[in-house]
Amino acid sequence: MSEVLVETKNLVKEFKIRRRFGGGDRFIRAVDNVSITLREGENLALVGESGSGKSTLGRLTLGLLRPTSGNVFYMGKDIWKMTKEEFREFRRNAQIIHQDPYSSFNPVKTIFYSLSTPLLHHKIARNKREAYHMVADLLRRVGLEPPSDFMNRYPSRMSGGQLQRIAIARAISLRPKYIVADEAVSMLDASLRLGIIDLLLDLQKEYGLSYLFITHDLGITRYFIHKGGGKVAVMYLGSLVELGKGEEVIRNPYHPYTRILVEASPIPDPKMAKSRGIPKLRSLDIPSLTNIPPGCKFSSRCPYADTICEKKVPEYRKVDDRLVACHYAEQFKTGE
């Protein structure tokens, strides 16, 4: 088995929020005791509704946020105990691709400028000419040909799909080992999404990258994991509720929350879609992070919750080779 590349242990991130009418500070827990591992060349897809803490977890693993407690390890080293030099090296190796390509580029700089600056800064290119050839190679690599057509363009003169390819080119330009793709295809047209995923997976083969692939779309998750392999982690209100290998997690979920997400995903089949009812939920609205239910966090919405669920926080149970945070995980596995 390959080496562990990125690992989090009991990771917690709290944010301070101000009360509207004074009365002291309050904290919300955006990431709550999350432990994940990602091996070299492997993938982890992170799914959940908006506000479940996916992006915060992603940013923590990149060292962009400091954890409240718990640790992030990169190649076995706690990133917050690294020397300056080590940390800089880690940051070069860990890159991110954002959801909105337009807001992740400087609108008044050309594509060439945006791509060549990091190359020159990290001395991967020794001069502008070398940088030009490297940028051209990168553009070709992400399917933008001829590269000269794109070099002097401004971000606003590119389509969303093209600019996302440039964002990928920038992310791989420093030859990183780890990339967080945070809803990297969500804003793109449906017809372009799979092309971007295919590109990410081709680059993975070529450079041995590891991805933390964040998305709210279970269909997209299936495609990604089916083609690229890896694990699927489901988050709810800052906690990991289910973690397992491959698209089986979506095909056959054990946690009631994962199940409901699957049931709520639109299916492009009118007969099937029309025959499916409204997912059985005790409450439709996701609780706010300032008002998390005691016991199992999902108990306020879970159709199967009982008094135990409302009182006792479920431990992770190992069902087959899956981790499931539900008191009744075994029963759900066999179909109640």
């Binding site: 017809s191 709210h216 299936r222 698209e247 995903s265 997912p279 996701i286």
Partner: protein, 339 residues
């Protein structure tokens, strides 16, 4: 256009049920780069009582079309050609008074991004009363009664919600309030522009079910606009697929999903992986969506179409009627589908 008129006559019983008819609608925008063609010789019929799903990628002209139906014009907008007939009357020829009656009473709209469209300093109840008043209905009691009924219908507790301000409502609640507001004056046609896109997954599903229920109960006509083709499977009776400002295929929902005929519709359905079925069949559509300032000649889809011929790159295909409430715009649809 010839084929269009010809077949229309031979199907007069279908025409009887038409509530909205759009012919040759062409809309440009003045943009710094030149002229942007947002809607391009678009033809579409909406039948009474149906839910018509309108799907297309970002920029395909869905919102511009929706706004045109209500005659909401942007300063940079130029209507080049075409007509929009509502119950046989040309919307572009309405007087101001007719237009006031038409908006909201005949046709109402829930705008894209409606989650931010409620006035923050007004309670929900004031929104309801004001909307009615703007259309000459001053009987406050009956408006509130109607509002209560509609809020209950979208599964909101009217006692609580009527007194709330926008910031006191969750996204899903807001979307339901805005929809109830759109139904307040019993319009014949409701246009919903991306009503679910800003909602989280579970709320989306719930909202679509509620809309389907309303449609059934009130027998109103709906246009459900979305970029997410899978969502319309659940609610639409028919689906119109848009590409580059044109409708390129229309048909009953099951036809569109189980037997798509247009290469773009086929490719689009193949590019959206879902939680069911074989995931290995899915693949992206090559190339990029057309630039509306410089659209490709001929069939707008030809640069991305695996079936394109020389003709496709030169001659624009017409929207041809090929069956019951079914239209297609492709030179080669017969060969491709072995018809």
């Amino acid at each position: 256009m010839e084929s269009l008129q010809e077949t229309e006559q031979s199907n007069s019983q279908e025409e009887d049920e038409i509530i909205l008819s759009i012919r040759n609608l062409t809309i440009d925008f003045k943009v710094p780069r030149g002229l942007l063609r947002a809607v391009d010789k678009l033809n579409l019929d909406v039948y009474k009582g149906e839910c018509l799903g309108i799907v297309g990628e970002s920029g395909s002209g869905k919102s511009v079309l929706a706004h045109a139906i209500l005659r909401l014009k942007d300063p940079n907008e130029i209507i080049r050609d075409g007509k929009i007939l509502f119950e046989g009357r040309n919307v572009f020829e309405f007087s101001d008074k007719e237009l006031r009656e038409y908006r909201w009473k005949d046709v109402s709209i829930v705008f894209q991004g409606a989650l931010t469209s409620l006035n923050p300093v007004l309670r929900v109840i004031s929104h309801m009363v004001d909307t009615a008043e703007a259309h000459g209905i001053r009987d406050k009691k009956s408006v509130i009664k109607k509002a209560t009924e509609l809020l209950e219908m979208v599964r909101l507790d009217s006692d609580v919600v009527l007194r709330r301000y926008q910031h006191e409502l969750s996204g899903g609640m807001k979307q339901r309030v805005v929809s109830a507001l759109a139904l307040l004056l019993d319009p014949k046609l409701v246009i919903l522009d991306e009503p679910t896109s800003a909602l989280d997954m579970l709320t989306q599903k719930f909202f679509v079910k509620i809309l389907a229920e309303i449609k059934r109960k009130k027998n109103i006509t709906m246009m459900f606009i979305t970029h997410d083709i899978a969502t319309v499977a659940e609610i639409a009776d028919r689906v119109a697929v848009m590409y580059a400002g044109k409708v390129i295929e229309v048909g009953p929902v099951e036809e569109i999903f189980y037997n798509p005929l247009h290469p773009y519709t086929k490719a689009l359905l193949n590019s959206i992986p879902s939680v069911v079925g074989d995931v290995s069949q899915f693949k992206p559509i090559p190339g990029i969506p057309p630039d509306p300032v410089n659209p490709p000649p001929g069939c707008r889809f030809h640069p991305r179409c695996p079936f394109a011929t020389d003709t496709c790159s030169k001659v624009e295909p017409n929207l041809e009627k090929i069956g019951y409430k079914r239209w297609i715009s492709c030179h080669r649809w017969r060969e491709i589908n072995h018809v």
